[in-house]
Amino acid sequence: MKTQDVMVAGVRLVAHAQRALYRPDTGTLLVADVHLGKGGVFRRAGIAVPSGDSDTDIERLDTLIRELSPRRLVILGDLAHGEATDRSGWVDAFRSWRHRHGDTDMLLVEGNHDRHFDARTLDLATMPEPVMEPPFVLSHHPEPDPRGYVLSGHVHPGVVVRDGWRKHRLPAFVFGPSLGMLPAFGSMTGLRIMAPSEGQALIAVTPAGLIRLG
């Protein structure tokens, strides 16, 4: 299954196997923690990480937009991993991608990594967290908010799923009673394994689709 419906705060949301969340009633596509240019930050510090992941991630965003034609894209923080330099190829790639989708609104809810990079140079609107979008509160950090159901990033949630004698570590969507967390969108991101708890819906992302756990 490439997508999975979830009812959150009375609204139907669609979890997508490309680690994105779609809200059909307003045509909003949400992604979190893209971490563009992460490899470059490592390479500049003398840590040999291959390049190519930022390009892959921009292509994945492109495919999602073609597939869902959302009215707007909201990035829940950490679009860029660190500072960019003249040699950071992803900046141009992202900018030209942005221009190809000029009619899609794009908003960045600023996260902790975004202070290193001014996203307005990418023609994105930016807002400090949290952004009200009833019944939701969109933010980077998963802080509960009395004003609504929080949809957030930052954590890079993951789960361990048992499969006979094997265990798989998989990125996951986590929906609690008042707070939801998206898996990190970026290919070069780690996982924080979450323990399942009562009243929580977990959706694991595998290369072959989504699995709903409780």
Partner: protein, 813 residues
Amino acid sequence: MPNISPTSASWRRAESRLVAWFTAQGRRPAPFQRAAWRHWAAGEDGLIHAPTGTGKTLAAAGGPLIHGALHPATGLQLLWITPLRSLATDTTQHLGAAVDAMGLPWRVLRRTGDSGSGERARLRRGACELLVTTPESLALLLSYPDAAERFANLQGIVVDEWHELIGNKRGTLLSLGLARLRRYRPEARVWGLSATLGNLDEALAALTPRGVLVGASSPKKTVIETALPDVGEHFPWAGHLGLRQLPRVLDTLMKARSSLVFANTRSQAELWHEALASVWPDDPSTLALHHGSIDPKLRFATEEALREGRLRCVVATSSLDLGVDFSSVEQVIQIGSPKSVARLLQRAGRSGHQPGAPSRILCVPTHLLELADIAATRDALRQGHLEPRHPRKGCLDVLAQHLTTLAVGGGFDADEAYVEITTAWPYASLPRERFDATLRFLVTGSSALAAYPEYRKLVLHDGRYVVSSPRVVRMHRLSIGTITSDGSLQVRYLKGARLGSVEESFIARLRPGDRFLFAGRNLELVRVRDMTAYVRATNSRRGGVPRWQGGRLPLSGELSDHLRHVLATPTATSPEMKRLAPLLAIQRKQSAVPNEGETLCELIRTREGEYLFLYPFAGHLAHEGMAALLAYRMSRIHPADYGYAVNDYGLTITAATLPPLDASTMRTLLHPYRLATDIVTSINLMELSRRQFREIARVAGLVFNGYPAHSKTLRQLQASSGLLYDVLRRHDPDHPLLWQADREVLELHLEIRRLRRVLVRMARSAIAWKEPPRLTPLSFPLWVERLRSGISADDWTSRVERMRASLEAKADT
């Protein structure tokens, strides 16, 4: 400066001063000590092997001290390398006393990871003649451009506890450091000190290309005793913990003033400490716990207390195997099978420091079959069959680290560096292509010719490879060494005191409020933040005990041979085998007890499915490889899901229905032909190699973590090794470090060489094919092991279907 001959009068006068110091303490130099002094005087290299507590330190130090008295000089004369920081303190004091006794004006200094800034500053100014340090601190010294100058007057290098270093990457790193020192100072002597090993010649060769072996003539006697379960007592057929033996152990502990209790794993040590604490009749502060994941400060405090005789019992793992001389220890207890003769000998040597007194060790079996292990160990010891420890050859991660050290410490020419590095034993047969691939990775970032964009580490400047970025220099110096901590979380109290570290996977299963046992304390998890688990003390335990991966040593090859022999000898006279006889009688009646030239196979059908059991007695690592191989070959005859489990005695493979099997099919399935190809296809090599990559990435400088003072600035550079592994597999599959990871999985994780030897042995042996009606004493322990691995032909789509189905089934019940 020419050496003064040991036959000259002046040399003898200087020697007599040292002998007088011995006499003043009521001792006499042993013949091997005097022999070592003379070899030193003759400018030779060598290896001194003798049991703990026989005076190896002075055997090695005597030569340089006499030399120092005859050739007064300033500047670093003697470099003393020790594997443990805690040992460095002891050694510095010990050597300092000897230097004073000889009336030498030498300044003795210690430089380890926890040296104070004063000590480091004095060292930076070069103010010492004798330096005690660790392999990592030596590498750090070599990373400063003034290294050549610092070692310009060096007379010699002594490597203490070489047996602890030779088999691991710290030893490899040290070999490279020694190659560099030999280049700075070809006339410096290189000496090693070692416990007795099965391969002393190789141990010597790995240290120096030319040298002599010097050994103590009279080996210390070791007595192995066993905590025998009573004949009428019901004693389990399987199990790892052995707490049933608690009363017997407590009884023994109460008879001595001070004891060491060795467990085989850290979790076992935690549980035994807990159990002893619950029945401890004495002052609770006289019982302590010591293992490698406990914070170094706490461990050091325990070692101090033990030295001062304030402890009655310390429960420990191999963390207390080496080094520090605890002369107050009266007896040693080993919980569970010793697994290796050399290790048992070393542990036993922790007691009985009075001259002439034998070392004693009490072995406590955790289940019946371990009685045979103990009998086999005694057999092997009697015949002097000790395990070898082989140097790790050609590790590219250590090479990458060393090349960066050379680049940081003044730069290098590629051809010269290659020649120098191949003088180090572990790299003697390193092909030039592999050296070049590693260098290319450091320069361009990848194995390909095209450089990664924005990457910079080593740069070519006037024909020499150097590091130009001060940040890269700083990060490299911070991460020198080969000890890894990736994937582990610090455990500390809310108030700040550190307790040690546990694996991330354990903490990930806990929620705040959950309790667990660690460092001998009952703890409650409060929160996890910044790779730290904050805890508070509680008074009761409901939760579990952390487990650490890779703690379990396999049964050694030497012990395996003797074990097969004692099992096959029905007329055994040892008390262990007599006690085991009734169990072996049941085994013989239901199935068979394998003879030495025989391989026993048992096929048992149960309600859950069919089980094939096989007993090569080759240790759990080689069994894992063999199980994967067998399951894979079966799946080619008959595709299905095969699960398997292993222990040190054998392996089991299970499926709902196994393919039709008999002795001749087994022969085909176990044939060593195409082992290398089949094993790579059979095991989930990727998953194992991804795990192995942790250490490699850290050693090669791909992963940075855990520098308390720098955590903020380096946070952006933190990535898990698993993530890097995936990225490299995807974009750079020919990367030299991936090659290294695969190789380590085959050699270390699956012991492929041993596996091949065992398969060849089995191909020549007879197959004893049995189909017992129910589980036998040999099969039972394997049957209760959880199935942890298996073979199944599938892709992500079928995995997802299976997981979904299993989740739905659970939801229905």
